[in-house]
């Protein structure tokens, strides 16, 4: 499943980069994150509870940051495994400065879902991934604004 889009952050690129570069922040941007553990500067793991209506699942998550070109671009690798399935995603993000202290993020990536949840819930992936992406970016933007405040 391909996932791509754009998002405008209400803050300068350096600030957005700092947040993106902080896997702990990234993990927290995943809706439902319970715990975060640092493995290295560019790798974090954590536990995420995904809740969508009656569906609820706990996933062991991992985020790895690579191919960094600060403060412009990087690659994110995200993994999640749980009793009801697993997810693997690789995405490239690229940021450009906009006028008025804003930042445009372009992202494009590919996600693969497997296991039980993939086998019976495929109808909803696209909607779920889009909405989780939006929630995550909104959260990131929220951090940005609260840091600025």
């Amino acid at each position: 499943m391909k996932l791509s889009g754009e998002y405008v952050f209400d803050g300068p690129r350096e600030e957005v980069w700092k947040l993106v570069r902080d896997p702990e922040v990234l993990m927290k941007c995943m809706p439902g994150t319970q715990t975060v553990n640092k493995i290295s500067d560019s790798e974090f793991t954590g536990e995420v509870t995904v809740r969508i209506g009656p569906f609820a699942g706990v996933f062991a998550g991992r985020v790895i940051i690579s191919d960094e070109v600060p403060p412009q671009s990087c690659t994110l690798t995200i993994e999640g495994t749980g009793k009801i399935g697993f997810l693997q995603g690789v995405g490239a993000i690229e940021m450009t400065e906009l006028e008025g202290q804003k930042t445009l993020m372009k992202y494009s990536g590919e996600a693969q879902i497997g296991g039980k949840v993939a086998s019976v819930g495929q109808r909803l992936f696209d909607t779920v991934s889009k909405s989780m992406m939006k929630q995550g970016l909104d959260t990131l933007n929220g951090f940005l604004k609260s840091n600025a405040a």
């Binding site: 499943m1 809740r51 969508i52 209506g53 009656p54 569906f55 609820a56 699942g57 009801i84 039980k116 949840v117 019976v120 819930g121 495929q122 109808r123 909803l124 992936f125 696209d126 909607t127 779920v128 889009k130 909405s131």
Partner: protein, 292 residues
Amino acid sequence: MKPAPFAYYAPTTLDEALSLLSEHGYDAKVLAGGQSLVPMMNFRIAQPAVLVDINNISDLAYINAEEGGVRVGALTRHHQSETSPVMARHAPLIYSTMPKIAYPQVRTRGTFGGSLSHADPSAELPTLTTTLDAKFRLVSQRGERWVSASEFFIGLYTTALEPDEILVEGFVPELPPRSGWSLQEVNRRKHDFALAGVAAVLTLDESGICQDARLVFLSVGDRPMYAERASNLLKGQTLTPEAIRAATELATTEEIDPGDDIHATADFRRHLAKTLCQRAIEQAHQRAQGKQ
């Protein structure tokens, strides 16, 4: 495929049910018809710790005609709506759609309130109630409130309901005179979830000009997609083919957000939405003119 264990309550009054929800919060799920919840439980992709079965609460199943519309209780089974003369008279869009929803054995169990609360973006009732500008009464121990359908549906399986609230009834306004309606869908098999669909209601003035219009799409977003701008575009217009095309174009290029799945690409869904939107407006227009 057997469900995980859960604690089961079968309250006989609404107060008891609300108290249970208040106590258990996110851990609890309301069991109404169960036609969407129980399959998820059998697959074990839903494992609620507590089920509050509201089927034993009396007085929640009714379809009553009222001034300006029809009041529908949350436990009204689809089969009741399908066979209700009151529904046929006051909410023909809902009435005529009921036979399309799932299968006969599901309609005997599936409920009005359950379908709305589940908020599947491909289900018909959320779309129809949004189209008809219905409102819902949500009750908790903290009190009650009325929420319009367009504010109720927030996202995928996500509504304005708090964990301690139950949708107890809906009020579906009756369409004024010179109104027409239509639901157009494309389904793989007749009773599957639509690949794309749209409901339209129109009201004409005495000279035949469109006074009011609402276009709402299903299966092309994370909730019923109300094409507000396209609907507004129709208002004040004579519904010429050009006007219909323009509204369709606006709605299906800017006001829906279709996704890919194994049955259809976003591209095809958009194409279907466009075809169906035009057909829906045309059919609603015909009906408004008393031609059908």
